[in-house]
Assembly symmetry: C2
Homo-oligomer: 274 residues x 2
């Protein structure tokens, strides 16, 4: 089963377009988890168990693991997802981008070492920096297009031949790079009009959409702008708002239950507008 | 001492603009090293010892270590360089690029975990994706501008407001991002005219120049186009041509001696044109 097929099945099985981002920051962990020998694994496993029936994908952000020298915990976590929730795809958020020979190594890192179903990649170095990921025929490459951060406009919004660079990226991927149906794009929720532009360019290609939750993107506008005619086509990511949801202590919530509540609310809010 | 000061001192001390890239590929190692418990460390340490008086920088490419689950060997290697050759800066080639909160984690990975003097970063996500590296005031951020691979033209050569995207990157970095003199740019040796354009835009800013050696860039054209008026301003990288130089067995060379010979020849050829 390819990444895209696995993602499509998860959209249906969990009736969800919600991607749960895993950005583990030990300073924000509950005290009982901080002191464990494998705090990052334990924390993320708790989130995964609490949200696996609500998510269409899990997206670990490798920077958080690398800064903590916790690649072994990320490996264990990916193993755990594959064994326990084999229907939920793993998107490794790594935003790699390098020349072909080096990209081959990054593809091995993502797909062989971590067993990810897809990896995020940066288009700045062009097609030969993306092609090595596409050699892994059952995996996906999710290419940065229009990002949700303030500086995203510095280059992505430069206008060349009458259209902004991010639309060139969408067009290149749709017309030339996506030779085997393995590509997706990253388009931030903070710019719904631009999300709609990208949707028009790329047809039914899946979009990874960060920027709701802590980053402030509007759910209704995002879904309206980015869904396909089938009411799917998106992995709408939320990380911090779910991971660090404040437990309702009067209701007896711990951090995992709070995460589940916010994930369910987010999934349901997305579904209201599909 | 800042990265730029350390680099300038190494240019002078070793009379060299040569950056030795460390892209360890076990399949290409000598048989006696392949079977060691720490082959990547052992191989790279041999190259470092053989070239430390010929180089202005060492540039480990993290993808090769990550694919092999060898982050511990990369840490040990960076420790070794800092302890044994403290005057030679370490450039971690990682080409990271992500939003601010994530970039903070990547900066910790590069500067705290590996103790690198500088790290390569990708400009596609704009200034706030670069700013967290600049918080480390004694370190450097080396930003992709014009890359030496064939696909580099896909986006970098799109023309906006009369000039190609890569020149916008050079201008942005020179005019706005380089607030504390910590920035450098990556400009490939395969396009000497464009290297000269970038040099005109950025003044004396150091340039990391890959693309000579295995990638075929011309040394004379590269040095003519990229040097500053002081005859420095560049880290001209060679990786594979040095690492996997063929030993002259009649002359009793092993792989390290062959690497030293090619590194010396490359440094000297660069110096002929400075």
């Amino acid at each position: 089963m390819t990444f895209i097929e696995k993602l499509s099945a998860a959209w249906t099985a969990n009736n969800s377009l919600l991607c749960v981002g895993l950005d583990p920051d030990i300073a924000k962990f509950p005290a009982a988890i901080k002191t464990r020998p494998d705090p990052v694994y334990a924390f993320c496993k708790g989130i995964i168990d609490a949200t696996a029936d609500l998510a269409c994908a899990f997206k670990p952000q490798i920077a958080y693991f690398a800064a903590l020298r916790a690649e072994d915990q990320l490996e264990a976590l990916c193993d755990y997802v594959r064994e326990t929730y084999p229907r939920i795809p793993i998107v490794l958020d790594a935003k790699r981008g390098d020349i072909g020979a080096t990209a081959e190594q990054y593809a091995r890192e993502a797909f062989e070492r971590y067993g990810a179903d897809a990896v995020t990649v940066n288009p700045y170095m062009g097609f030969d920096s993306v092609a090595p990921y596409l050699e892994w025929k059952d995996r996906g490459a999710i290419i940065l297009c229009r990002t949700s951060n303030p500086g995203g406009s510095d280059l992505q919004f430069l206008t060349a031949d009458g259209k902004p660079v991010y639309q060139h990226v969408a067009q290149l991927v749709a017309d030339k790079w996506n030779t085997n149906g393995q590509c997706s794009l990253v388009v931030g929720a903070t710019f719904p009009d631009e999300l709609a532009q990208v949707r028009r360019i790329v047809g039914d290609m899946p979009l990874l959409v960060p920027g709701i939750g802590a980053q402030g993107g509007d759910v209704q506008a995002t879904v309206n702008a980015g869904r396909t005619s089938a009411g799917t086509g998106m992995m709408i990511n939320s990380s911090r708002a779910i991971l660090y949801a404040k437990p309702d202590q009067a209701a007896g919530e711990d951090h995992a239950k709070a995460a589940r509540r916010v994930a369910a609310d987010t999934r349901n809010e997305i579904n209201r507008f599909r």
